[in-house]
Amino acid sequence: MNVLEISRLAFVIAFYLYCLSFIFYVVAVTGKTWRNRDPVRHERKWGAVSFVTSSLGLLSHFIYCGTRWAYSGHIPVSNMYEFMTFLSMMVMLAFTVIFLIYRKILIGMFALPVAIIIMAYAAVFPKDVQPLIPSLQSIWLYIHVTLAATGEAFFAIGFAAGLMYLLRTVEFDKQDKSSLRQKRWLEFTLYSIIIVLGFVISVYGFRAANYEAVFVQNTTVIDSEVQEDSTIERIVYNLPPIVAPDDSKPEYIDSFLGLKFPWFEAPSWMKGEQAGRQLNTVVWAVVTGTLLYFLLRLLLRKPLSRLIAPTLKSLDPDDLDEISYRSIAIGFPIFTLGALVFAMIWAQQAWGRFWGWDPKEVWALITWLFYSAYLHLRLSRGFQGRQSSWLAVIGFIVVMFTLIGVNLIIAGLHSYAGVD
């Protein structure tokens, strides 16, 4: 067994340990109300079991990272698979830190799904070890990317705690305007999370079925000598092509349920590598996610938020609010240092300018501005509880857009941190 195989195995072990510990956390939290149980003893026992399991998962995650680093000779953060895996590792690390401060097992019930979903998302991308292109060969790759991911991981915990706060305080029986709006948006937030799951499920489902469709795309570049330089690219889809690449012809398409594909073409203005294929994946994520959501609704016969909310009843909302705020406050300086200051130092060294209004840079700045608005509102304008929790939820959406959305639809200088 070589080092890379150990690394792959450690990844899988970490993933399953996280899933297992998530179940333990759920048992620890919801089991308190089971019959014939002493709630305090139950919580202490199962809390310890869950924390040990999730810590073992984190240890295995570290082994994955270390062995892959040893194999490739550089820190594994240079493509989408590696970065997302690293991010989920940092989410678990941030969770562990926050857990050790507050000792609330309930955070686990929300932080673990965040880590698990990010990890599952990572696993969708190509896992090959790639050598570094010259612009990434710098010590700042290690510092900039790892610190930015750590800051973002604390924002993720802030998001999880904020969402918990909202689920804990939402009043399902009230019918006034603000409660209704509250319920609607909470349900929408949960639906969005299900869409991410839909993405992972559809990719894995069709991968297991070995689905393939191939398109031929013609890209024409007119160079300075007025000669047309056209390249023909084969684009392989592993999901049925609802969206075909811009200006392309199908080479062959596997059949799926006897449906006729493609239904439409990707718009030509979409950027990034293989925009058509990525848009198709997004469409599939929404389709699968929506189906899954309605299936769940049909089974449960009530909104998802209504299913989760009762498990939180034993929790003090003020503590959740404090935890959410605190992890954002811990993450903010780290994010500033990693995603802005060190990014500027690196940009100065690699490109000769510390700031170039590249989309990724702009979105890092937008994230930073958003969280600084959050902090000002909270510290000086008394935004607490519901308002600040919603901001924590929206903030994390901004973070995720910066990490994934920018690469998907805008691209720019950071496109090599992308997907293929």
């Binding site: 090959d128 050598p131 700042w140 300086p333 000769g352 501005l369």
Partner: protein
């Protein structure tokens, strides 16, 4: 209206004071309320709270508001988003923006361009927003930091009961076995927890990590330095950002400086196949491993501006420029930016021949960049009347040069000599065979009358052609404001760490007979403060749950 701002303790407060500067008694609320107090800036009056604001005060008041600051942040944030919808003009050089957006994105692109969003970050409104944020940073900080500093540096130990029971962390209850040294043992216990304690017989003030309160203001100072540095970068002479081609093997003058750079060789290296993942190997993808220009920087020491002499050069720096590893000579930096591996003509050595007989009159060396004004070949004189490095015909059919890069060089000579007219004969020469055919050298010469002489320029063999194997495109940078940018950011980080990783905590305590009244305050991390106060009370023999210390006002 004249407000009575005198507190019952006898202290005269300034207008706008919420909590008495001396005893902390809330000046406006009813005595029955137990709502947590608004403790911002310790309830002192800020500069912006003047009773009769004049014009300048009004501007001051506008920028001193945190609400305005948050609006400015949000507007900037949303404005910045617009700039990422389509690419910015500054990110491409080769296209004409007035047509580029329309062609690429259609009508939406055209609207985007016409709204000026194609240069969002240089537009007047975006810059104005940044300047306003700068003003807000300065004024918000000044408005608060001085009053806060004064309030914190002259705190009274004994506070009003109202002040204590309306903190967010409160304990009020009887103390058993209250002896004379209760206060002194409380002092010991608090000191052990890192507090600095001041006390009298039956009241106490414990405080720690006050410096954390200055964190936000330090952040703001850092941001102001940063913004000023960016503003002053634009001044002439402080900032150079130019890109030039440096052909291999040549010493090239860097315009607007007395520096010369020699490209001693450019290398591009690719990863060998065995280092690539299988998928890349199958699709035949190549991944670059290294771009490197071996560069030597020279400084001109004499004869720099004398065109008749060669400048005297002295080597000042030698560096292998790579991506992430620029050449740095006292702040003059050279970055690897791009490269071109297509061979370019350095010089040709054509022969002047008689077209019908093939008789040669001799050769001369014609350099693309350093061509001379006249060449003497046998009995003939060739005067160079015009030179086009990148030859093309414009709409009117006139010759133009599209750029200064020798992509399609052409030379227009006036040939004089025996049997030729006094004024000479015009003759155009394309050194590259492909250009000769593309632009139809013979047809042009026929129109110019150059064929009448019966003379022609021709390269007779490959040994007469000299190529530049590659060229490196380097970015020349001078940025004198950079140190201030880094200092500003350093100060920001210092402020962030002080402000977020330490917490200012204060505990006030007074004994009213047999009753202990305790109030505690922090700017953030209430959880930690409650835990600390509960532990302290446990030390003192008062058993209380952390959660019960919390004062939620009239909710409970």
């Amino acid at each position: 209206m004249i407000q009575n701002t005198k507190c019952e303790c006898g202290h005269q407060n300034r207008v706008g004071t919420v909590l008495c500067e001396a005893c902390g008694k809330p000046l406006y609320d009813s005595d029955q309320s137990t709502e947590p107090l608004e403790m911002r800036y310790d309830g002192v009056a800020r500069r912006s709270q003047k009773s009769n604001p004049n014009f300048i005060d009004r501007i001051w008041n506008f920028f001193s508001s945190v609400k305005v600051a948050v609006y400015l942040i949000i507007i900037t944030l949303v404005g910045a988003m617009f700039g990422t919808i389509f690419e910015q003009e500054s990110n491409f050089v080769y296209f004409d923006p007035s047509t580029f957006y329309k062609q690429k994105y259609g009508t939406i692109g055209d609207i985007y361009y016409k709204l000026g969003l194609s240069h969002t970050y240089e537009s007047w409104w975006f810059v104005t927003l940044l300047v306003m944020i700068g003003a807000s940073l300065v004024i918000c900080s000044l408005d608060r930091v001085l009053p806060l500093y004064k309030a914190l540096s002259r705190q009274k130990i004994r506070k009003h009961r109202q002040f204590l029971i309306r903190q967010r962390v409160v304990y009020e209850g009887p103390v058993e076995n209250l002896t004379g040294d209760w206060i002194s043992s409380a002092v010991t216990s608090l000191k052990k927890k890192g507090y600095r304690v001041k006390h009298d017989e039956d009241a106490l003030l414990a405080e720690k990590q006050r410096f954390s309160r200055w964190g936000p203001y330090i952040i703001h100072i850092g941001l102001i330095i940063f913004l000023l540095a960016i503003l002053f970068r634009g001044l002439p002479g402080l900032n150079v950002d130019k890109h030039y081609w440096f052909p291999e093997g040549e010493i090239t003058k860097i315009p607007d400086s007395n520096l010369y750079l020699k490209n001693e060789g450019f290398t591009v290296e690719y990863y060998p196949e065995e280092e690539l993942p299988e998928k890349f190997r199958e699709s035949g993808r190549v991944v670059p491993k290294l771009f490197e220009t071996k560069a030597v920087l020279y400084q001109c020491t004499a004869d720099c501006d004398d065109p008749s002499k060669d400048p005297l050069l002295e080597e000042v720096k030698r560096h292998d420029i790579r991506v992430n590893d620029p050449l740095n000579y006292n702040g003059f930096k050279v970055y690897q930016f791009d490269f071109d591996l297509t061979p370019k003509l350095r010089s040709v050595t054509p022969s002047l021949v008689r077209a019908d007989t093939g008789e040669s009159y001799g050769k001369f060396k014609l350099s693309m960049t350093n061509s001379e004004e006249t060449y003497q070949v046998g009995p003939y004189t060739l005067e160079l009347s015009n030179k086009y490095m990148d030859f093309d015909l414009n709409e009117e059919g006139k010759p133009v040069s599209k750029s200064n890069d020798p992509n399609a060089p052409a030379f227009l000579f006036v040939i004089k000599g025996p049997d030729l007219p006094e004024a000479g004969v015009q003759y155009i020469y394309f050194p590259k065979q492909i250009d000769k055919e593309r632009f139809q050298q013979d047809a042009i010469n026929e129109r110019l009358g150059g064929l009448d002489s019966g003379l022609a320029l021709d390269v007779l063999g490959m040994e007469d052609v000299d190529f530049i194997a590659s060229s490196s495109y380097l970015n020349i940078r001078v940025d004198r404001a950079m140190p201030f940018v880094w200092i500003g950011l350093g100060i920001v980080m210092l402020g962030l760490v002080l402000g977020f990783y330490w917490h200012h905590r204060r505990i006030w305590l007074r004994l009213d007979g047999q009753t202990l009244i305790l109030g505690a305050h922090t700017a953030k991390n209430w959880f930690g403060l409650r835990r600390e106060v509960a532990r302290f009370l446990q030390d003192m023999g008062v058993d209380v749950d952390e959660k019960h210390l919390e004062n939620r006002g009239n909710q409970v």
